[in-house]
Amino acid sequence: MLSFAELWPPVALTLALASVTTLILMLIGTPLAWWLATSRSRYKNVVATLVALPLVLPPTVLGFYLLLLLGPNGPGGLIARLWEGRTLAFSFPGLVIGSVLYSMPFVVQPIRNSFEALGPRPLEVAASLRAGPLDRFLTVAVPLARAGFLSGAVLGFAHTVGEFGVVLMIGGNIPGQTKVLSIAIYDYVERLEWGNAHILALGMVVFAFLVIYLTMSIDKRLGRIRL
């Protein structure tokens, strides 16, 4: 009953989902965090609020709207038709979209905080030393905000691993496609397979402990920004 072949797919899927999600979040979260940290636009607070919404909303609310958007009658359905699909819901890309939105505040906030902590001075110095805007962003702002990037990446990854509500709403429970760890545990408990549930649950506890412990030690060395 306890078989590696059965337990591994949800773990692999979860790791793949969390990795892809974190990568995408770093790519879109960095410019977004920079804009939020430096812009004087009056829409700044509106955008910041939208990014932070998943912190407050029940995951089922986000999942419900995503289901409508990604389903056959929403824009997701139109996109899915490009490769002869019917819907983005109940698929890996759908899970990625949901996870990106759901984990975004956990990535954007620490990066934004460390950009804000820099203040304008280091960038002014770089400008006076002939560095153009992109140059000074890459050679001064990013390295100085590295603690924020690390916190953001770890939190984004860990949060994606741990999500349940959004995944259940838009992913369902398709083995190998959308059945991630948290859902697998739920599934085992429903079916009263306590042994398998124990293994996965304990694994998650160890994982969470290690992630937080490592982040804290690295943060201490980088000397700024706490979890």
Binding site: R121, V125, A127, S128, L129, A131, P133, R146
Partner: protein, 359 residues
């Protein structure tokens, strides 16, 4: 002579900033004034870090006018901030190379030259956090120089340092101009610093330029408050003419007259600057003999100002084309019958040699 010309208008806290000035491109121009008078804002506008309305040009090179605004990174200005602001993620070498690598074309200011000039050899591989305040500011100055600036801007570079660190770093600033012949604009609220480093003075007050001119004209001019204070002084240019090793005295030529200073003043023929405090100058109508005072200069009285609320007066003197200030009592004025146009002998009790740029 090419000049640096700027005019800016904007608001600064509660008052309006409105400045317009022209300064020579040789030597050190000091932007002097009390805190909050807008000095730093003007300096930032020159660097392109602040966008005020106006115009700004270095010789024929226009950085800003009604149509153009050259961004800071394309101006080629070196900027030394009040706090050293070194990049904490780079070593001293990394900081120094940051601007050096990004400078294009012929690099007139070499890496080794700057490291040597500022005494940075031993610090190159250190992290900025492991430097003293004075060392940090030296690295910051070196970093600015290595970006091959056309103009160097110094924003109170010594004000964040304690007295010892300031004494440690001042000679480097003094050596700078002589070694690199780079135009410099210095922001300062410390007149002693200005006397030591500057050759041209812009006096700022409440967002506008109150007066502008060569340093000594400003120091001894009757229209400005400098000469009212206890520490009123004149800064004169003189040429090194000799050295008496036995007595340890250096001789300077000041408009055909000799001025003696302690120690070797420099190479013969070199122009140096001396500071003579008004309180150290007394006057006699005949050439005094039998006195311990070595320096007696023939001078003509150009102006007399009685100082309010006291027994003292300022006497302005001309020696050749340069001006000297003497602080004497009103009674002495009356007893000796001193008046403008009269020739007198100025006895100079103390002369301090400033090693800064020639005026």
């Amino acid at each position: 002579m090419t000049t640096f010309a700027a005019s800016f208008a904007g608001t600064l806290g509660s008052f309006a900033l409105n400045v317009s000035f022209e300064a020579p491109l040789t030597g050190v121009t000091a932007l002097f004034g009390p805190s909050g008078s807008g000095k730093t804002t003007v300096l930032r506008a020159i660097a392109g870090l602040e966008h005020l309305k106006g115009r700004c040009a270095l010789g024929k090179l226009v950085w800003q006018d009604a149509l153009h605004f050259v961004p800071a990174h394309r101006r080629g200005v070196g900027y030394v901030f009040q706090e050293a602001s070194l990049f904490p993620h780079l070593s001293v070498r990394g900081n120094l190379e940051y601007g050096f690598r990004r400078a294009r074309g012929q690099k007139a200011i070499g890496f080794d030259t700057v490291v040597e000039l500022l005494g940075l050899w031993k610090l190159l591989e250190r992290a900025p956090e492991r430097l003293s305040g004075g060392e940090r500011q030296r690295v910051s100055l070196g970093r600015a120089l290595l970006s091959q600036p056309r103009l160097l801007l110094l924003d109170e570079p010594m004000s964040a340092l304690d007295r010892n660190a300031r004494e440690e770093i001042l000679p480097y600033f003094e050596a700078l101009h002589k070694a690199l012949s780079l135009p410099i604009v210095l922001v300062s609220h410390d007149i002693a610093e200005v006397e030591r480093l500057a050759s041209y003075l812009l006096v700022m007050n409440a967002g506008h330029i109150a007066a502008a001119g060569p340093l000594n004209d400003m120091l001894v001019s009757g229209k400005l408050p400098f000469r009212q204070g206890r520490d009123a002084a004149a800064v004169l240019a003189a040429t090194v003419s000799g050295y008496d090793a036995e007595d340890g005295l250096g001789a300077l030529d000041l408009a055909g007259q000799t001025l003696l200073v302690a120690g070797k003043a420099g190479e013969i023929g070199e122009t140096v600057r001396v500071r003579i405090a008004a309180r150290d100058v007394s006057l006699a109508v005949e050439r005094p003999s039998q006195t311990t005072i070595l320096n007696v200069l023939r001078a003509t009285i150009t102006d007399i100002e009685l100082l309010a609320g006291g027994a003292d007066a300022n006497v302005s003197l001309a020696i050749g084309s340069q001006a000297l200030l003497a602080r004497v009592t009103r009674r002495s004025l009356r007893l000796l019958d001193l008046a403008p146009g009269r020739e007198v002998y100025a006895q100079v009790k103390g002369v301090s040699l400033l090693t800064g740029p020639g005026a």
